[in-house]
Structures are given as C-alpha cells and as structure tokens.
C-alpha cells in the first residue's frame, strides 16, 4: 500500500473515532459536549492510546486518554470484546482492564478515573477512557530528574500501600480473570521454555530451586496487577499519582507483584535502590503492612524476586521468538532476546 493510501485510511479512522467519542462524551457529560485535540499518542502492535479533551457545555475541560485494541484485529475478527477471554501472555480485554482500574480506585489505590468504555463496532475497536493525569511514567526520568527528588524516597512505601489495597479486593467483585497459582505459574514458564526447544540450564536450575521451595511462596490467591513496576507508575513531585497498565491483571500470588517491582530490569542502572531504582525493600514491606497486607517474610519476597527474574528472562525469549518464528519481524523484539541473560544472571545470584 502506498503512503498516500495509508495516510487517507488513518484520516478516516481518526474521523470515525472522533464521531464515536463525541457521541459517548454527550452520553456521559450531557448534550452539547464536544471533543477537542484528538491525537494518537502511541500505536504499538498491541494497543493504541489517544489523547483528547471533553469540552463541557459550561466551558470546563476534561483531559482524557483512550486506550483501545488495535483496529486491524477487529477488522480481522480477532480478539475484541471477549470478557475474560484472556491468557497470562496477551492480557485481559480492554473492558476488564478498565474495570480493574475502577475497582482499584474504589479501594484507595491511586489510579486515573475511568468514566466510560467503548464497544467494538464498525468504527472502533473496544476500549476504555481514563482521566489524563499530570505526571511522569518513564522510569528513567523518574529516577533521574530533579522534579522527582522529593517523590523518590516516598515511592517504595506508597507502592507497598497501593499493592496491599488492590490485593485486598474481594475476589467475588472481580471480573473474570486468568488465574495461576505459584505451581501453575512455574509450570507455565517451564512449558514456554520447552516450546522454544532450546534447553536452558540456567533457568532450569532456577525453576528447580523454586519448585523445592514452593512452601515459601504462600498460598493467597488475589488480584495481582501482573506488571507492577517502575515504568507503569505515574509519579509527580509529591509521589505516586497513579498505577497504570492493568492489562496483565490476573488472579495470582500477591507477593509476585512485590517481587516483580524489585527485579533489576526496572532499576535502570540505579542498582543500589532495589525497589524500582528508587527505594528500599524495608519501605516497600512497611507500606504493605501499614495498608493491611500483613508482614511479608523476606524469604517469601526472595522467592518471588527469583521468580520475577525467571519471568523477565522468559518474556525476553518470547519477544525474540515472536521475530524468529516470523509472527512479527522486528529488530527491537529479536534484540530484546539477548536480555534474557540479565534475568538468568540475577536469578543465579539469588538462588543457592
């Protein structure tokens, strides 16, 4: 397809989306509401995000973000609108993701408000709309820039509090979610590695070590965020402003979220701060306990940090094999495959 046709197609898709959003903001905020400044922020192969304002009849402005599935997927009749029809890899559908954010907000987790959802139709894929908050979500900037110097020492405690709160949401209030116990999660990662037909002694050692210590994992099964880390946290000068990207939400072991935020991949070089490159383990666990999550034994955190290293390595391999198998040829994805050894190296430092 020529660039011209692509551009024309993108214009039509934007007009279609604007029409859908205008209708929805009028449903939600009243007749006469308009939309302004609709612009696409990112468009990976997996999700699209758009920024726009709702202009209310009284002149007030609501800054908003739309997150929706990629259009080509619905056009191919693929993955739209299947509530709970998700796996741990692809994540949940957009309605479920938005619903998780609403539930988290109700129990006091800092999250953007989610005022409405979009159904998939012939003009748009399924999506949800959230408040556009001020703040920074890029991990490196949060760690480096002076604007966040006052926020950084507070973040580990605040992350612990936030996690304790969303881990405590009663399961019967949650939408349908994929579910993995610690044993199932280990089996799952081992199966993924086996499917690559590339025997991996380092990760095998880690899996063996974890299997021998499953009693350390704990047996709570709760909502877990699934990607709770520096990079999915919105931060302003005062501290944690929002926990973002709930698309890997699932039922799992709650301490998996705390182990994940501690792995080195999210420290962006600030290795002396184990929690996200900004904080201390003691603060994370203090915040978790203060918000009612109980005192997490260090051995349990170590188990889940080791598991997180394994998971990071497997995620890197999955990306590489997406390219190698030819599903999506991508220099970026295949290069990330070489980062699997970072997870392996760190895993082998944690085990004995």
């Amino acid at each position: 397809m020529t660039a011209d046709i692509n551009r024309k197609k993108a214009e039509i898709q934007t007009l279609d989306l604007a029409a859908v959003l205008r209708g929805r903001v009028q449903d939600v905020y009243g007749p006469g509401t308009e939309i302004d400044g609709l612009v696409r922020l990112s468009g990976g192969a997996s999700r699209e995000t758009w920024s726009f304002d709702a202009l209310l009849p009284d002149g007030k402005r609501k800054p908003l973000i739309l997150k929706r599935d990629p259009l080509n997927e619905i056009r191919d009749g693929n993955t739209d609108g299947q509530p709970g029809g998700a796996n741990v890899l692809l994540g949940v559908d957009r309605w479920t993701e938005g619903r998780l954010m609403q539930l988290a907000g109700e129990v006091g987790v800092p999250v953007p408000e989610v005022p409405f959802f979009l159904d998939a139709d012939d003009r748009t894929s399924a999506g949800f709309v959230m408040q556009r908050l001020d703040g920074e979500a890029l991990g490196r900037r949060i760690l480096r820039e002076d604007a966040y110097a006052q926020a950084r020492p507070k973040l580990a405690f605040q992350c612990g509090e936030a996690a304790a709160r969303f881990h405590d949401i009663p399961i019967d209030r949650l939408p349908e979610l994929p579910s993995l116990t610690a044993t199932e999660a280990l089996d799952y990662h081992q199966d993924v590695i086996d499917a690559f037909k590339q025997p991996h002694a380092g990760f095998e050692y880690g899996i063996h070590w974890l299997r021998e210590r499953l009693e350390l994992a704990g047996d709570r099964l709760t909502l877990v965020h699934g990607d709770f880390r520096n990079g999915n946290l919105l931060v302003d000068g005062a501290g944690l402003r929002g926990v973002l990207d709930w698309e890997l939400g699932q039922l799992g072991n709650p301490i998996s979220d705390l182990g994940w935020i501690c792995i080195r991949a999210w420290r962006y070089g600030y290795y002396d701060k184990p929690v996200g490159g900004f904080g201390e383990v003691a603060d994370l666990l203090d915040g978790y306990e203060a918000a009612g999550g109980g005192r997490v034994p260090l051995e349990r955190l170590r188990f889940w940090e080791a598991f997180g290293c394994l998971r990071w390595g497997v995620v890197c391999m999955i990306m590489a094999f997406t390219h190698i198998d030819g599903r999506e040829r991508s220099l970026e994805k295949v290069s990330i495959g070489r980062r699997a050894v970072e997870g392996e190296y760190d895993l082998l430092q944690l085990v004995d």
Partner: protein, 120 residues
C-alpha cells in the same frame, strides 16, 4: 570462513560505524531509537566474534567435567538441563551453580557488559 580482509568482523564493524556516524545523526524519533538498537545488536555480534570462541571452549570443558560425558555445546547443555530437572545433579549443586554463574557472566559480557556496572 574466508580469512581475506576485510574479515567478517571488519565488515560488521564498518556497518556499525556507518549507522553510528552517518545514519544516527540524521534520523529522529522511532527511527533514531531503532538505529541505536541496530548499533547495539552489531556490537553484540562483534564481541561474540572476538570472545565467543574462547568462552565456548571454557564452557564445554566445564560441562565435560560436570557431566562426565562428551558432545557439542548444544547437546551438553541439553544434557545438563535435563539432569537438573530430574534431580540428578542435586548432589553437585555447588559445582553446577558455579558453572552456571560463570556461563551467565560470559553471556552478559557479550550481550550487555554495562549491565554489571551501576550507572547511579
């Protein structure tokens, strides 16, 4: 592999320098990001060509010692992975872990040598 110059390593180096000196300064946004990714990938290839052979030899020697058998690197790693999973190496944990840590250190040195140094 031909030994005539330019060697394969010299060609890869030339491509990396071309990307760094002539492409990177003239692109922006996603293309600039992907150019950096390409430069990093070529640097991995260069380090592997320079150091990979010696690392493979050392790894294979350690595997022979651990497993008491011979084979190529792929076969030996497969054998070690199976032995770890079955529990057959449980009595040699310290030796296995030492081997795996040395191997991972070598792989990091090829993939991302800066990983071990804090940027702080």
């Amino acid at each position: 592999m031909p030994t005539d110059r330019p060697t394969a390593a010299e060609l890869v180096e030339a491509v990396r320098e071309f990307l760094t000196d002539h492409v990177a300064p003239n692109v922006e946004g996603q293309l600039a990001f992907h150019t950096r990714v390409a430069v990093n990938a070529l640097a991995i290839v260069e380090r592997t060509m320079a150091q990979g052979g010696a690392m493979d030899d050392a790894e294979l020697a350690r595997l022979r010692e651990l497993l008491g058998q011979d084979g190529d690197l792929g076969e030996m790693n497969g054998a070690l992975a199976r032995a770890i999973r079955s529990g057959a190496m449980d009595n040699d944990r310290a030796a296995v872990l030492e081997h795996l840590r040395l191997t991972a250190e070598d792989k990091i040195a090829l993939a991302n040598p800066r990983y071990l140094t804090p940027r702080g």
